[in-house]
């Protein structure tokens, strides 16, 4: 495959979820991403290009950051399909190949999505948000200096692992083919998320204590709200309900004081 088409695929994969639909989820974005390379692979045979495009228009859903790995793997395997095999029936061998690609897409998508959800959405994103927002509340609004610093901290911290996964996932998929699964499982993502979890708890308690101690006359209210909302959220009350309870409670307290 030509380098320029691979680069185009990488940038097109940013639009993976542009036409996210409940029926086949990311299928449109997926086909859009791989289209330049597919056209190059099947440049000689219009019919096979059509078949390949139809095949990749099927259901596909995974985590957007790690989807690049699957895209790269699909392209590598598609590229192998057209290589002359020398088997008696080329059509039959191609049929099994396409089944292989299809099942790979389907079976890799689920676990990778679960991995991405727990690592990025449930760990990295809250952790970076906590650090940026915690910085704001600990420093206080009057001596932050340049007001965009917390935003820049957040963008920088969050996008380091994000772009790393997007870029190296793509590159590894192109280079190591199906061995990439082994490589990703060697990354020890579980261990890293465990470290982030512990660090998050530590930072959160630090921010909480610093915030409540610095507040002066509202200390008691802060501790009370923290305990009440922690217990309620642990009992699966939604945060929106706790929020409305807080609104009513605070306005009521204002009238009582």
């Amino acid at each position: 495959m030509k380098n320029c088409n691979i680069i185009r695929t990488f940038f097109r994969s940013l639009l993976l979820q542009a036409v996210w639909n409940f029926e086949r989820m990311q299928n449109v974005g997926f086909l859009y991403s791989i289209m330049p390379c597919l056209k190059e692979i099947y440049v000689t045979d219009e019919n096979r290009l059509k078949n390949a495009a139809m095949r990749h228009f099927d259901f596909f859903n995974t985590h957007p950051y790690i989807a690049n790995t699957i895209i790269a793997l699909t392209l590598v395997l598609e590229n192998e399909t057209v290589a002359p095999t020398g088997l008696p029936s080329v059509a039959a061998s191609e049929e099994t190949k396409s089944q292989q690609i299809k099942s790979l897409k389907l079976h890799l998508g689920g676990p990778i999505a679960a991995l991405g959800d727990t690592f990025f959405w449930a760990r990295i994103k809250p952790f970076c948000g906590l650090i940026a927002a915690g910085y704001v509340f600990i420093r206080g609004f009057n001596n932050i200096g340049y007001f965009l610093i917390p935003s820049l901290i957040f963008i920088f911290l969050y996008n380091m692992p994000h772009i790393f996964f997007r870029f190296f996932g793509f590159w590894l998929g192109l280079k190591y083919k199906t061995d990439v699964v082994k490589i990703i499982s060697n990354f020890k993502i579980q261990k890293i998320s465990e470290i982030i979890r512990l660090a998050g708890i530590f930072v959160c308690i630090f921010v909480l204590i610093a915030y409540i101690v610095s507040s002066g006359k509202y200390r008691f209210a802060g501790v009370l709200v923290f305990l009440a909302s922690f217990i309620l959220i642990k009992k699966n009350v939604s945060i929106i309900s706790v929020f409305w309870g807080l609104v009513i409670g605070c306005v009521g307290a204002g009238f009582l004081m």
Partner: protein, 205 residues
Amino acid sequence: MLAGFELIKIAFVGGLISLDSTVFGQFMLSRPIVAGPVIGWLCGDIKTGLLIGAMIELLWVGVVPVGVGVPPDSAIVCIVATAIAANKVPDAAAIAIIFSVPLGVIFKRLDIAHRKWNRVFLPVVENGIENGRYHILTFVIWLGVFLSFIKSFLFLFICVFLFNAILSYILPFIISAPALVKGLQVFMFVLPVLGLASFLASFVK
């Protein structure tokens, strides 16, 4: 008071920011901590933007989208709250947050309806592939981006206009009631504590 041009400017930039949450890239520019200061800067009141952004960021920190679930949208809440609280008295920020939190849920409903509706593109693209017209794929993708942008743009335009008018109208009454102001000040203090509690609840097993 927001002038007509400023309203369009906010809705336009807000629409672009909210594209980042699902449609394009996910660089998390749509998180409140980034969207708040940007919209605040646009309104000439970056401090309020940062305050509201940090508050809503902490409030949304425990909200995790799992699988195909669509969570309430934090970017819309933050953009509307910042736009209507900018250049007003400090206590306006609390009321702006209370007003705009329900919008996150409403926008989520709208988003789900939009994603269900997106299936109309599937037969169109399939038809295009059958006939060898592959450029229809590019067209559909960019149409999807454009429609998402229009959706956020109109939603923001209407909400900011409406809520700004309501807030400007009721703000004098609220400020003249000392008990209410006191309650709102307590609320602004304990809101981050609620966010921290939800963070801890999702991180502690």
